[in-house]
Symmetry: C2
Subunit: 168 residues, 2 copies
């Protein structure tokens, strides 16, 4: 298995997700990243959070999140309100319209993958999950760079850790 092969396969997967995103965007008017933000907000206390938290949750650059939020804001799905004692920070809060959208549509979206996953055996799901995590570890360039040379032992331990973290 070559680097290029893995790369292309992963790109294909993400391409599929993006295509799905575009499709949803046409149907609902919002993209998956935007939906992820709404979903995150709906799980938070008072349905609000700081851009910083969102950034950390979806693991994106501050500027990217900034763009996503302003697009959501222009659709009135989220709103901004300043934090009382810190003029730097701004709450991003879910609007009723945003909650509406979330309430009406996501089941369709959510259940799509779930249905496909249900067709797999528990063993297959466990294996899939474990390997996604393994990929995360292998591909996580930043972490690898932080500890330049992972030994076989390290990687195996990580694998075992992941494995035991997600028992079937």
């Amino acid at each position: 298995m070559k680097y290029i092969e893995i790369l292309i396969k992963l790109r294909k997967i993400i391409r599929s997700i993006n295509l799905e995103s575009k499709k949803i965007e046409k149907e609902l008017g919002i993209s998956i990243p935007q939906l992820l933000v709404l979903q995150y907000l709906s799980d938070q206390k008072d349905y609000r959070a700081f851009a910083k938290d969102i950034k950390e949750y979806i693991n994106l650059n501050a500027s990217t999140v900034s763009g996503i939020i302003s697009r959501l804001e222009s659709k009135v799905l989220v709103a901004k309100s300043p934090k009382p004692n810190d003029k730097r920070a701004t709450y991003i809060l879910l609007t009723a319209k945003g909650a509406d959208l979330l309430y009406k549509y996501p089941p369709t979206l959510q259940e799509k993958l779930s249905q496909r996953l249900k067709k797999l055996s528990p063993n297959q799901i466990e294996e899939l999950d474990r390997n996604i995590d393994l990929l995360t570890i292998i591909m996580d360039v930043k972490d690898i760079d932080a500890a330049p040379l992972l030994t076989i032992k390290d990687l195996t331990e990580l694998t075992v850790k992941v494995r035991t973290d997600h028992p079937q």
Copy 2:
């Protein structure tokens, strides 16, 4: 395992790849998608191909490929030449400068993942590859849409197929 979880994990992986891409872009002046195109051309007879072939290989939209090629063209890493008997088609060909770049740098890039993969056992690699393919199948919205309801049997057969296609 929830939809959102898988989505976010996959997004993280791709984010890592993109970060790697940006890093390479700064170092070499070209991105991973651009590099994939060069690499593909270097594998072709006479080091040339049509945009259409490239499109199919990297699995991207025609307009995306068009953009990548014009960026490569402006860096004189590829050039265009019309196909004799079909004025619609244009050969994209690797330039000497493009071959140079490919010859000098990619080992560094290629070996990065290879080294990490070498740390895995053959069994782990086989399992990883199989699960990436499984993900491709699960995520490939288009194919799923074409045959709306895959049965458990279908999916299992696909899994088995993938499994036997890549024996350890």
